[in-house]
């Protein structure tokens, strides 16, 4: 490939990488907004620590397993990524580094999804251990199977089509979230004596909204960058599909929640946007524009009914199981329905739509649909098995859940020794001792003077 083409391609991937890393801020605000004030700070620490650990784990081991050639199950080169190294038979260069970093951004998104179900009660140590296992093994195994030339890249001649990772990234994260939740249990007070779900409102819908919009914007890098190239300006098509599905997701979820409860739930509208985006992630490079809003709309409807149904059994504060899990499954399968002959991967068959309403052979389409289903099944089994074992080990050793007292006090003060919103918890007078500091006693020593308006109307 001419040098200039590679440079142009990687310039686009660099932009996309930045957008995908921005999604960390989206997850942070979304989760903090859906938490109570006493658990606001821990969300920040969690995102930073996860991103950091995931980075090192991906660099040392994960990248090699995901993209290092090897066999059907794992790659065998590219560990401790460095120069003078060959990865999957190619010498490492700047392009390899760029793509390696882009892969890390996806791994970090997948990991961020896991913790949506665990808010307000998980021990911080669980993040640390699972993040390493996830970044080094769990996500790389799935990425290798679909994108790294592994098991799912050729099933009887047909590849699984997951353009940017409805299964690889989103379902993987959601299955990890399910495993964690099953061992963790609900937040205190989530269910009444009769086992009915109760409301624990998150403290800030504006933060949730900010998170959703940041994720939405980041998704243009997530899907658009998965072209890995600028050829034919194809990334433009992918980005338009992304936008159409996100919009339809908001509309679908808003409509569903309004019809169900006669109120336009703010958080659900946000979940609808995410579900639409997750839904279009796999098909974004394989479907025509008309199909994108259908995929997004269905994802939006799905997320509302799934959140309401899951809430009866499992305490998932942000709706991660629905928005990333079920919408991820739907997105992966939807390629088998709407995949267009013009766009599908080499060896893959167009979707069922085109055989039912067109001339494409039905058996081939059905075969492709089954292959898509296989990706869902494979992802679920592999991720669930490793995750449940990891979380069980964490529970058996350092413990998975904080004790009741710590949960009541909030993770900010009990796990981090500080509040995310100190002024909500510490009375203002406690800040001032009126005593001089060790240096500059004249300035610091004068106790805080009363504000002028306080003395003006003296009794």
């Amino acid at each position: 490939m001419p040098q200039i083409v590679s440079e142009l391609n990687m310039a686009w991937v660099a932009v996309a990488t930045v957008l995908v890393f921005l999604m960390q801020a989206g997850f942070m605000f979304l989760e903090i907004g859906f938490s109570r004030q006493k658990n606001a700070g821990t969300g920040v620490a969690k995102i930073l620590m996860n991103l950091a650990l995931c980075t090192i784990a991906w660099w040392a081991i994960g990248y090699g397993i995901a993209e290092g050639g090897g066999n059907d199950f794992f790659g065998d080169s590219g560990f401790f990524f460095h120069f003078d190294q060959t990865v999957a038979g190619e010498a490492v260069n700047g392009e390899t580094a760029m793509l390696m970093l882009y892969g890390l951004a996806f791994c970090a998104v997948s990991l961020a999804i896991v913790w949506g179900t665990t808010l307000e009660r998980i021990k911080f140590g669980a993040y640390v251990i699972y993040a390493i296992v996830f970044g080094a093994v769990i996500y790389p195994l799935i990425a290798h199977a679909v994108w790294g030339g592994g098991l799912l890249s050729d099933i009887g001649g047909k590849p699984v089509m997951d353009f940017a990772g409805s299964s690889v990234v989103h379902l993987t994260g959601a299955v990890g979230a399910l495993a964690a939740l099953l061992l963790l249990g609900p937040r205190k007070g989530k269910y009444d004596a009769g086992g009915r779900p109760r409301v624990i409102p998150g403290h800030s819908m504006p933060l949730v909204g900010l998170g959703v919009i940041i994720l939405w914007i980041g998704w243009f890098g997530f899907n658009g960058g998965s072209t890995f190239e600028t050829a034919g300006n194809f990334f433009g098509e992918v980005m338009l599909n992304t936008q159409l599905a996100a919009a339809a997701g908001v509309i679908g979820a808003s409509l569903a929640v309004y019809l169900k409860s006669r109120t336009l739930d703010v958080g659900m509208a946000g979940n609808g946007a995410i579900a639409g985006l997750v839904g279009i992630t796999a098909p974004s490079g394989f479907v025509e524009y008309w199909a994108a809003p259908i995929i997004g709309f269905v994802a939006g409807l799905l997320v509302v009914f799934a959140v309401l149904a899951i809430d009866r059994l499992l305490d998932d504060p942000v709706g991660a199981l629905s928005a990333h899990g079920l919408a991820g499954i739907w997105g992966t399968l939807s390629v088998g329905i709407f995949g267009s002959a013009r766009l599908v991967s080499e060896g893959a068959a167009p979707g069922l739509w085109y055989s039912v309403f067109g001339d494409e052979p039905f058996s081939a389409s059905l075969g492709q649909f089954a292959v898509q289903g296989l990706a869902v099944l494979f992802t679920f089994i592999v991720v669930f098995a490793i995750s449940i074992v990891t979380f069980a080990l964490i529970r058996g050793t350092i413990g998975l859940r904080v004790d009741d007292e710590e949960e009541e006090a909030g993770l900010d003060i009990s796990s981090h020794g500080m509040y995310g919103y100190p002024e909500q918890f510490i009375p203002q007078p406690e800040y001032s001792t009126g005593l001089p500091g060790p240096l500059g006693a004249g300035a610091a020593g004068a106790a805080v003077p009363a504000p002028a308006q306080m003395t003006a109307t003296e009794p």
Partner: protein, 122 residues
Amino acid sequence: MKKVEAFIRHEAFEPIRAELLDRGFPSLSISEAKGSGRQKGIVERYRGSTLTVNVRPKLKLEVVVEDKDKPLVVETILKHARTGEVGDGKIFVLPVEEAIRIRTGEDGEEVLQAHSEEGITA
């Protein structure tokens, strides 16, 4: 001395404060209160579930005055706090034993008076 303690709607406070000041009663305190009465709670809907919030936000107004001024203060509060709807609140009048001004240490009913010579800034 009497303490007049009134639980009122937030929007009633400003007219009451202005009129009490006009009539020579600049000293008062307010605090945010949450309580229940005959006014029903509000229902919060969140992600398809509902939560009934049984206590509603009100403002607690406290004014300490000489016995003779009590009717005037009560009348002012009634005038502005009454809308006729359920949820207007309640007034309680309590006896007060002592009043001491912290700055000077003086005590008695005179500490309840504004300093006429210093003027009053709103």
